[in-house]
């Protein structure tokens, strides 16, 4: 399916074969899209911009999870915990040591990566839901640590307030401005994720996902690559966490919780596992769904007037859970697969095969 290309698009050199963007019109579209993203604050209103901002940050976190779960097949319920780690590292570097946010962001990503390595260690011995359990442990231990350890530095359950990031005299104090940082990091992370998954590393990941014992017999060191996948996933999570924290400028142990980890996994399934478009589709669809679910609030309150307080809270898990279940039953390969089918149908028209 992926070999289907527009007519006349041939590989004439090896360099040509490696290209991602193959046609002049694709370059035009690509730059137009990037331009549209960067100029978004000029023509979209604030709620749209902050939604796009949030979606962008979520995509980065889900891209990390996609490397770990979608490509390497290691189920992780701890992505939000690694976001917490990244957020705390960045917040501490900025507030306590006075670092610039733009240096603390990569530092937070790396720091979260190393914490991810620690919780990836059980992957040496276990897999499947045993591994899911060990990442679930991360999801409890890391927030506990931020709540209870070093109360004079981490400020306990209250968490930390973070100041506005400043670069070249520009204050990134609203989503309208912060979105420039988010989009830049998102572009870097998308390129990184794409290239990781089509390189030697990515092929090793896929080999482990498809059968780790067989991969080992072929000379792929499963432990090494599983740890690398954990590291990469946590780096993405750390970067996303740091971005989210500096966007909302506050952080405590509950900012990213278990539900977020579950939602990230759900986004991955809804978007499509083992595909680079998956995280993007999934994050956009689920975030929009949750956004629109709020609109049903008044309607649900009229049906369940006695439980009005719960009805609004119920919408998010209810909508998300139902969508996830429907996707799992009817389209477990996610929207990315649908998109491939659509593209193929478009290229093959008017023939259906």
């Amino acid at each position: 399916m992926s070999i289907l290309r527009p007519a006349g698009d041939f590989d004439t050199t090896y360099a040509h074969d490696l290209r991602t963007i193959r046609q002049p019109w694709q370059w035009v579209l690509f730059f137009a899209f990037i331009l549209a993203l960067y100029t978004l604050p000029l023509y979209a209103n604030q709620s749209v911009v902050s939604l796009v901002n949030r979606i962008g940050i979520t995509i980065i976190a889900v891209q990390g999870l996609s490397i770990l779960t979608g490509y390497t097949g290691q189920i992780s319920l701890g992505q939000a915990a690694f976001m917490t780690t990244g957020g705390y590292i960045s917040a501490l570097l900025v507030t306590r040591l006075g670092w610039s946010f733009f240096i603390s962001l990569p530092a937070a990503a790396l720091g979260a990566g190393f914490v991810g390595l620690i919780f990836g260690l059980p992957s040496l011995r276990v897999k499947g839901f045993y591994l899911a359990m060990s990442t679930l442990a991360a999801q409890f231990i890391i927030p506990w640590f931020t709540r209870n350890a070093f109360p004079d530095i981490l400020n306990g359950a209250q968490g930390l307030n973070v100041q506005v990031p400043i670069l070249f005299g520009i204050e990134f104090n609203s989503p309208q401005r912060f979105i420039y940082i988010t989009i830049t990091v998102l572009i870097i992370s998308t390129i990184a994720a794409y290239n990781i998954t089509r390189s030697r590393l990515g092929r090793a990941f896929v080999a482990i996902r498809d059968h780790d014992l067989a991969a080992e017999l072929l000379g792929v060191n499963p432990f090494k690559y599983k740890l690398q996948a954990f590291f990469l996933a946590s780096v993405f999570a750390g970067a996303a966490g740091a971005l989210a924290v500096h966007n909302i400028r506050h952080l405590n142990s509950e900012t990213f919780n278990l539900i977020d980890s579950i939602i990230f996994l759900g986004m991955l399934i809804i978007g499509g596992l083992g595909s680079n478009l998956g995280p993007i589709f999934g994050a956009i669809i689920v975030e929009l769904l949750v956004e629109w679910a709020i609109l049903f609030g008044p309607f649900f309150i009229t049906i369940f007037p006695t439980t009005a307080s719960g009805a609004v809270q119920a919408l998010r898990p209810l909508f998300f859970g139902t969508t996830l279940i429907l996707f799992l039953i009817f389209e477990p390969r996610g929207l990315a697969h649908r998109w491939q089918l659509l593209k193929a149908a478009w290229r093959l028209r008017p023939f259906s095969h």
């Binding site: 499947g128 060990s134 231990i141 709540r147």
Partner: protein, 306 residues
Amino acid sequence: MNWQLLPQFVVTGLLLGGPLALNALGIVLIFKSTYIFNFAQGQMLLLGALTTWWFVVVQGLPLWLAIILALILSAILGFLIERFTLRPLTGQHLLVIILMTLGLSQVLQGLALLLFGSVQRNFPQIFSTTAPYKITTPFIFNDNNITIILKQNLVWSFAIAILGVLLISALFRFTRMGLTMRGTSEDHELAQSMGININRMFGISWALAGIVATTTGILLATSSGLDMSLSVIVLSAFPVVLLGGLDSIPGTIVGGLIIGVSMGIVSASKVPIVRDMAEIVPYILLLIVLLIRPEGLFGQKRIERI
């Protein structure tokens, strides 16, 4: 370490281990026969407790009738969950199944919020709270024997929990249905080719797990109140399951008691940070178990072939 309080905390922890074991039993029941790790057990438990509450407080039914009705409803719920969400996924990849139960947990949580709201409720007291049992221990501290106070509800929920685990073990060990269920858990395709209706076995396991979940929910609600956080407390049953072994029913008792007691011991510490650790002790134990003996204390080690 606060030596004076230690016996009290150990015994309380032991008693709290009972409901944990029962809750773990629900998960093991489903896992043993279907290979599905049910992340929605906590929400099934929450819904069970809430329905019981609704029958008693809103409908004004007598408690015994309410409990029986709630148990029947939860069995039906378990059966329906299996039929409509997990049956279509039979034989699918593990990740898909894990995500299905996670999605289910979200839907059930949403349903509970929608139908019952998120307020804290007073669950009807089944056991007397005024007359705790007192036991004088032979340990002597400051020339006084240490007395352990046991709340009646804790003792009774412990007893019911252990009884439940024993009953289910007996069901698996001695009845024909238990035999077919064990056969199903050994190998689905093989079992089916031997004439076992594995779909029916899956349905029965889920219905049983629903009953177990509701029992746990009622027990936990009487001893620690009823609100949405009940489904979160229950997450500490996952370490119990893994400690005891995913497919071992006696393992749930041992795992539950070990986790309960270690939480009790940690809460008896005098250092505040160690005391606060009580909530993550199960997960630290879990990590240790996973690193040293991934199949758990009584679990069956599975050998994989290419």
